[in-house]
Symmetry: C2
Subunit: 451 residues, 2 copies
C-alpha cells in the first residue's frame, strides 16, 4: 500500500479540489434542483478517474453507473453511493454557504460533504490512486459503481432499476459508505440496517370540532386513538401486534459477542441523551443490543385538537398518530401491515384508517460471510486500527435492494465522523476522514483481488 | 303584562338603537380593548333606564353594578351578565363588521349581540319598560345588577369581588341570561352548570428530539403519555381517577324526569354531529342525561413530534395532553387534582408535570327551589309557551360564585337562539329573542314581587 499512499499524498490538493467541484454543484432531489447537472458533473469526474460511465434515466433522477477493470473479469465489487443531498434549509444557520465548501478546523463544511458526496467520491479517488500507482486493476477484478440521485427521497426507483439490470449490477459484494465511524474515532464496519413501515393512524368520530361540553355524550377520536395505541404497545414496551416478533431473526452467538464488544458506557449514553434510563427490551437494556436486534414501534408524531398556550375547550373531530416501525430481518413491512389491519379489525377499530407513508425491507449480512473479512482487512490496513464491527445499526436504507433483489452481501464502510451533522446545517466531513476513505477504497481493491 | 307589552312595542326602535350603541363599543377583555369605555357607556345606558349605578375597579376590568327600587326593600333579585366579548378574529369571515351591528333576516349580527350584551341589555330594557308602564318597582322588591368585564377570560376576579361585597350583592335569587333557548325555539330555564378542571400533562424523557432509530433504546415521552392516559380512562369510558365519582350528586327522580322530558331525537343528534353512536355512559346513552349529570375527562388537545405531511422519523423529547374535566355537583376541582396527582405518583408517573390552566366549581339549583317556579311563570307569561327545564347543562360558568360564595339559587333564563354563533364569526341574536328577553325580564319583576 506504500505506493498507493504516496500517490494519495502527492495528489492531496487535487483530490480535494475535485471533491469541492462536486460539492459546489447543488443536487437537491426533493426540490429537483441541479440533480441532472450534478449527475453529468459526477460522470465527468469519474471518467477522469478512469471509470467507464453511463447515465441511466429513471422516472425522476438519473443513476450514474460506472465500471473499471477488464470487462470479462470474474470477480466484481459493486460500490453504492448517492449524489443527491438534503435541502440546505435553514440557510441562516450555516456558518459558510452550503454549496461553497470550505475547510475549517480540519473539517470540510458543505452540504453533501459527508452525506454522501464526500464518501462516495473517496471510492472514485481510491480507484484513481490505485490505477495511478499500479497501472491498472488486479487481473480478474472488476469495480462497479452505482450512484443514485434519489436516496434522500427514499430511493423510489432503485429497486426497480436493480431488478431491471441484474446482469449489469452482478457482483460478489456491495460496499456502502453512508454512515459514520465510532464516536471514539475507531473505524466501523456495519453489516445491517433496519427496515421500516411508516404509517399514520387516522381516527374520526364526529364531523367537526365541537365545544367540549359535548364530550359527555359524543365519542372522542383522541380517546379512541389512545386506547387503540395501548393495544399496539403496553407499559412493558413489548409490541402487541400479533406475530410481530415471529419473523425476528435470532442473533447468532458471534453477532451478540460483536455487539457486546462495541465500546460504550451506559451512564455516558444516558447523560448525553438526558435520559433517566435505557429501555428494558425483551431481554436486556443493552444500548447496542436493542438498537441492533430489536424492532421498534415509535410514535414519531401525535396530534389532535388544541395545541396553543393555555386552555381551549374543544372536542376534536379527528386524531392522528404517525408511527415508524423499524423492522429487523426477517420481518416484512407488508406482513406487519396486514397483521396490524387484521388486529385492529378484530379489536373493533375497523373505522380507523391506516395511511402508509413508506416501506423499507431490513437487511443483514452474516458476520461470517467472507467479504466481511475482506472489508475488515482493508479498513485495518488503511487506518492501522482495528475496526468496530456492528452486526447492524438502528437506521434504515436501501441496502436490502442489494442483499435482497441482487442477492449479494452488503458491507458498510463509512468514513464520516459521528458528528457529521448530516441532514442539518453545517454538515461536515472530517478532512482526514476523506483521505482515510480514499486509502480504504484502494485497500478494498487490493484485498478483494486476494480474496 | 299588556301595559308593559304596549310600552315595549312603542319603544321597539329606541330599545334596538340603544342596544346598537352598546354593540358598537368594542370590549375585548382578552386583548384589553375598549373594556373600560364600554363599562362607562353601559353605566350611562343603565342610568337612562332608571338604574342607580356604580363602577367597581378590579385587578383588571371593572364591574358595573346597579340597583333599582327602594333601597330598603326586603326582597332582591340579582341579575348577572357580562359586557366583555370574545375577540372578533377571524375578521375576514364576518359578512358585516363585528362592531357595526346590522339586522338581516330577522337577526341582529355583531360581536356581543347574544354573548352577552344583547341578553344582559334585555334585562336593562325590561326594567325600563316596567318602570315606564308602572311608574316604579313593586313595593318591597329591589333589582340588583352585576355586569362583569372578565367572563370571556374566565372571571378571574368575580369570586373575590363577591366575597368582598356580600352585603351589596345580597339577594333572594340570581338570574343569568347567558345561554340559548331549545333547538325547537321553545324557551328554556336552566338550573345548573358544570365545573371544570383544565390541566395539561407534560412528559419529557430525553433532552431533545432525536433520530427515531434511537427509539429502540431510549424512552419515548409519547408512549409514556399514552400509557398514562389509558390509566385515566379505559375503553369503557369510565374515569379511573380514584374517588372521581364519589362526590357526584345523585340526581333526584324529578331531575331525571325533567331531563327525559327535554325534546330530542337520538337519530337526529347522531346525524347532526356525524357520529355513529352516542357515548354509553355509566348508566345510559341518553344524550341529555350524560350532558347534565355525568362528569367528563375530555382530551381537548394532544401533541408531540412531527405533524406535517407524510413522514419524518423522530423520537420526540416531549409530549403534551390538554384535558378538560367537566365536573358536576358536588365534585371539587382541587380534590380531583389532588387525587390525580396521588394516583399518577402511585403509578410511578411522578416525573409527569401537571400544569393547571383553570378551575371552576360546578353549580346546580334544586328543581323544587321556589325561585325556579317564579322564573318558569315569568317565561311562560312572556313567551306564551311552556319552557323546557334543564336541571343542568354541559357547559361551565361563574354561576358557582352565586350558588356557592353568595349562597343563593341561580336560574338561567336565556334569550339567544341555539345557533347564535357565539365565540365565532357572524355572532347573532334573533331579533324577536331580544324583545322576548325584554318581556321576560319585566315578567320576572312582576312574578318576583308576587313570590
Amino acid at each position: 500500500m506504500d505506493d498507493i499512499n504516496r500517490v494519495i499524498e502527492r495528489n492531496r490538493q487535487r483530490y480535494l479540489d475535485d471533491l469541492f467541484t462536486l460539492l459546489r454543484q447543488p443536487s437537491i432531489s426533493a426540490q429537483d434542483t441541479g440533480v441532472r447537472e450534478c449527475a453529468r458533473l459526477l460522470q465527468g469526474l469519474m471518467e477522469e478517474a478512469g471509470i467507464r460511465t453511463r447515465i441511466f434515466e429513471t422516472a425522476r433522477h438519473p443513476v450514474v453507473y460506472g465500471e473499471a477493470g477488464e470487462p470479462d473479469a470474474e470477480k466484481a465489487i459493486l460500490v453504492y453511493g448517492h449524489y443527491d443531498v438534503q435541502p440546505p434549509e435553514p440557510l441562516a444557520e450555516w456558518l459558510s454557504p452550503p454549496f461553497e465548501p470550505s475547510v475549517r478546523d480540519g473539517k470540510i463544511y458543505g452540504r453533501g460533504s459527508s452525506d454522501n458526496k464526500g464518501q462516495l467520491f473517496a471510492h472514485v479517488k481510491g480507484l484513481q490512486s490505485y490505477l495511478e500507482a499500479r497501472g491498472g486493476l488486479p487481473r480478474g477484478l472488476k469495480m462497479k459503481y452505482i450512484f443514485e440521485g434519489e436516496e434522500e427521497i427514499s430511493s423510489p426507483n432503485l429497486e426497480g432499476f436493480a431488478a431491471a439490470h441484474k446482469d449489469l449490477l452482478k457482483a460478489d459484494a456491495a460496499i456502502f459508505s453512508d454512515s459514520h465511524v465510532h464516536e471514539s474515532g475507531f473505524p466501523t464496519v456495519i453489516l445491517g440496517l433496519k427496515g421500516m413501515l411508516y404509517i399514520e393512524l387516522v381516527v374520526k368520530t364526529i364531523k367537526q370540532d365541537m365545544h367540549s361540553l359535548k364530550a359527555a355524550s359524543l365519542p372522542s377520536p383522541v380517546w379512541r386513538l389512545v386506547t387503540l395505541l395501548s393495544h399496539i404497545k403496553g407499559e412493558d414496551g413489548v409490541v402487541k401486534i400479533p406475530g410481530y416478533y415471529d419473523d425476528v431473526r435470532r442473533p447468532t452467538a458471534e453477532e451478540i459477542r460483536a455487539v457486546e464488544a462495541i465500546p460504550y458506557e451506559k451512564v455516558a449514553i444516558m447523560r448525553d441523551h438526558g435520559a433517566s434510563h435505557l429501555i428494558q427490551g425483551r431481554t436486556t437494556d443493552h444500548y447496542y443490543y436493542n438498537l441492533t436486534f430489536e424492532p421498534t414501534a415509535n410514535i414519531a408524531g401525535i396530534f389532535s385538537g388544541y395545541q396553543g398556550k393555555g386552555s381551549k375547550t374543544v372536542l376534536p373531530a379527528e386524531a392522528h398518530a404517525k408511527l415508524d416501525l423499524r423492522l429487523v430481518p426477517d420481518q416484512k413491512p407488508k406482513r406487519v401491515l396486514n397483521n396490524l389491519r387484521d388486529y385492529l379489525d378484530d379489536l373493533g377499530y375497523n373505522d380507523v384508517r391506516i395511511e402508509v407513508h413508506g416501506e423499507l425491507e431490513p437487511s443483514r449480512t452474516p458476520l461470517d460471510n467472507p467479504w466481511v473479512a475482506v472489508a475488515v482487512r482493508a479498513v485495518r490496513k488503511a487506518y492501522s486500527m482495528e475496526p468496530v464491527i456492528y452486526p447492524g445499526i438502528g437506521g434504515s436504507g436501501p441496502n436490502y435492494v442489494f442483499t435482497g433483489t441482487l442477492g449479494m452481501p452488503c458491507v458498510l464502510v463509512p468514513f464520516a465522523a459521528h458528528d457529521q451533522a448530516n441532514h442539518a446545517p453545517n454538515e461536515n466531513m472530517i478532512l482526514e476522514g476523506y483521505f482515510n476513505g480514499i486509502r480504504t477504497a484502494a485497500a478494498i481493491i487490493d484485498e478483494a483481488a486476494k480474496a
